[in-house]
Symmetry: C2
């Protein structure tokens, strides 16, 4: 066997073990009985240790050194070059971190999580504050190990959006904010408000489940390569190639929660299922970035799922399942689904205001990492920005600064991906319209296969060969920017709100 094949076999073995770890997580979130948790956390620790040891082993080091040497590297195919680069980057990062740092980090996050949960429950930031200070200190320490040129925040951004810089995000946000904030003001000033209350009622779980299966079928989600389960916080998990599972949650009083959770997660799953098989179990068989991943879930959730033509297709099923809609017109229903409002919670936000929630998180994170604000001032800063951007003043810490779990995991830099994903979804959408001019007509019939095929070909089949900026440029001819998204929301919501 050629040495590159040995290397790939080694990497695949790590992947096979990683897949099992994924399965354990899935089980814990969906199926495992309560009393399983204690032993399973030991299992997770044991297998994680084995995996980590393999990623920093002498054997791995030899592979990396061998294939990175100019002489050998130049003989590799383009794809193998990219693989070696990705593995080298990960390996070097792992090597840069002192073992005691990893242990301090693990300890700090394991303490911070219950503290955050308690703080949120009691709506008291002071409980979480010392933990966040500790985690912020560790995050800054991390940037020193990894190294950076301009902005410490680049270190985190790069983990989610390879190649992207803090300055890019700032510019994107600036133009987006300038367009969105006044537009949202117009929407909220409009007298033509949809009647959102018609979405509330009492919806049997089994009927909601039926609707989820119907919409998954319409999306061509393959049940031979996945399954749908219930989880408190919906997620998608690629256990392995040919096994990408989604979860949703059912609220008795609002069936749209499960419907759009299902569609959103299925969007993620379709991406994972469309990744190039030839790279199975290798790093190239991954999403280009978190934002590109989010562009897929958001495309299906919003640009398809909240589209008038698609709802026209779905509405007869909805009426069959939930008779209360028998006398409610599709137009009313569509408008209710697309209600825009100033709300405190990011995950409940509509597609127009959602990005504003992200902006303030990015600005706060970036300022924290660069010591321009202090942790103790967070509730104040948060609430001021919420008022300025979203127009809502949080009533307490629970519906303000404490709402997201990310920081309690010591995770910084993830939020921008949500927003960039929204922007990319709109860029892909307009490009798709050029290639599939009968987009609306197809959606009316529930035919989404051409859209999926388009994504497969343009996005999924690229795997992780390109960085997100290069991928978007290759597909659309443009850099990632907010113009398409702004165009999309203006077109759509001007009609709905008659402005």
């Amino acid at each position: 066997m050629k040495k590159i094949e040995d290397f790939k076999e080694y990497l695949k073995k790590i992947s096979y073990l990683g897949n099992i770890r994924g399965l354990v997580s899935w089980d814990l979130e969906t199926k495992a009985p309560e009393n399983a948790i204690e032993s399973r956390s030991k299992s997770m620790a044991a297998i994680s240790e084995l995996i980590f040891n393999m990623t920093v082993s002498k054997e791995m080091e030899e592979f990396i050194n061998y294939f990175s040497s100019e002489e050998i590297f130049n003989t590799l195919s383009e794809e193998d070059k990219k693989l070696v680069k990705l593995e080298k980057k990960e390996f070097e990062k792992s090597k840069k971190l002192p073992v005691d740092y990893i242990m301090r980090m693990a300890e700090a996050t394991s303490r911070a999580q219950p503290a955050w949960a308690e703080a949120r429950k009691k709506s008291d930031f002071a409980i979480f504050q010392p933990h966040l200070e500790k985690l912020l200190g560790l995050a800054k320490e991390y940037t020193e190990y990894i190294g950076y040129n301009e902005n410490k925040y680049d270190v985190f951004l790069d983990e989610f959006e390879p190649g992207m810089k803090t300055e890019d995000v700032k510019k994107t946000i600036e133009t987006l904010k300038n367009e969105l904030v006044p537009f949202i003001q117009k929407i909220l000033d409009s007298q033509n408000k949809p009647n959102k209350s018609l979405l509330h009622g009492n919806f049997e779980k089994s009927k909601q489940e039926e609707l989820s299966y119907k919409v998954l079928k319409a999306m061509n989600y393959d049940f031979n390569s996945g399954r749908l389960d219930e989880a408190a916080h919906p997620f998608t998990l690629r256990v392995s190639p040919g096994d990408v599972r989604i979860t949703t949650r059912y609220r008795e009083d609002d069936f749209t929660d499960s419907l759009y959770s299902t569609v959103h997660e299925a969007g993620h799953a379709l991406y994972e299922l469309g990744l190039p098989e030839k790279f199975n179990e290798l790093a190239l068989c991954s999403a280009a970035s978190y934002a590109v991943h989010e562009s897929q879930s958001r495309f299906w959730e919003n640009l398809v799922g909240r589209n008038f033509s698609f709802l026209k297709f779905l509405y007869s099923d909805i009426k069959d399942l939930f008779p209360k809609y028998k006398d409610i017109s599709l137009e009313e229903f569509y408008k209710a689904i697309n209600f825009v409002d100033r709300t405190p919670i990011r995950v409940d936000a509509d597609e127009v205001t959602y990005n504003l929630h992200i902006m303030l998180r990015f600005e706060i994170e970036e300022a924290l990492i660069n010591d321009r604000i202090k942790v103790e001032d967070l509730p104040k800063v948060w609430n001021e920005k919420m008022k300025e951007y979203v127009g809502y003043e949080p009533k307490n810490d629970a519906e303000g600064v404490l709402q997201d779990v990310h920081w309690s995991h010591g995770s910084f830099g993830y939020f921008p991906s949500y927003m960039i994903g929204n922007l990319i979804s709109a860029q892909l959408y307009y490009k798709m319209l050029e290639d599939i001019p009968n987009f609306e007509e197809l959606l009316e019939k529930g035919e989404t296969k051409p859209m999926l095929d388009w994504m497969r070909k343009n996005v999924h089949q690229e795997g992780k060969l390109l960085e997100p900026q290069d991928l978007v440029k290759k597909i659309t001819g443009n850099n990632i920017d907010s113009s398409c998204f702004v165009k999309y929301v203006k077109e759509k919501y001007s009609k709905i709100y008659e402005i």
Copy 2:
């Protein structure tokens, strides 16, 4: 930390990884989508290799040698002594097997399994014959590596029933056969045959599921430490302490199949859930033997589940769920449940004829291993014995020699545990009656907690401290023998068949 604690930590780590492997199996049998299989088999191989390496490592060897040295061994507690003995036995066995043997065995079984499946499908033993010859050769080779005194078959028996000898099984079978065969003849000659056909009908799966949950509740199965799922071949799996899962299967035309599968598997699960917590993740936290395990499942399935008083308790639920029983008396139903017949398939056999199916398997296995019969003669030998013991002549290989999967796994020596388990269940039953004289009264009310507590105290809490013979002796004062079982079936079936 004391060195014994280090040793236990090492063993626990192996257990934590083993638990994950168990979870992967569970998932494959119950939840995994079809396309998961290919990658998951690689995951299984990867983690199995890691586990195996840990069980034969230098570190393990050092622990074993250290604690087996007389000087150190004598300082250990009785429980730790037993642990060291168990681990030493396993370690030495692993060390005795040449690596090339393990690989030849793995290859032979991976070829034999599809061949067996095809042979069974086509009802053609010739397809399976060369594979079985190969596996038998490997099994005999195995006995040479492990070593034996009197009978090669002891090697296999010891893996399932530690300490038990082939001669013991032969004697047990002889007395059991002498009693059972004529008694079954009397049953079948009786004119008072139950009406078995009343068990057939059309039973909604969701109602059967409901019945399974009801009976599990009555058995005090703890859903915080387990769950019920569906599988083609029902099984119980201890993923870890606090997580013992059971599976059942639903046949639309016969609800008793799911009912008794559930009760049988729950019997296994209650044992696993009752093992001593202080030994969690160590070998002492295991069943005493496969037969003792089977004694638990059979106790709940037959001595409780097919008991008149318990059925009296359950029958109102059955009537509520399946209205066809509204006009059928409990007596008729009870007799139908306990119908005795000459049937070809072991897993469908009633509790009286079941042991005869086992006897012939044991006799054939033992003769094969000791070269007293040839593989090519198996169909003939099988059918002759079936006619002699069960009184049924198989119509073809599929309902004869090809019905069981065990040999295609290269597994010999397992069958006796089924029979011995039945015998033990009756021995425990009569001892329990002494301690719980109102047994029937309690069952009528569905109160099974006292029986479970009795099993917990007498059987479960012993873990693997004792060998099966010593355990039964400790509890009942007697060796394992067939007298209680014979007494039980004669008492019960003389009444049912009025003989």
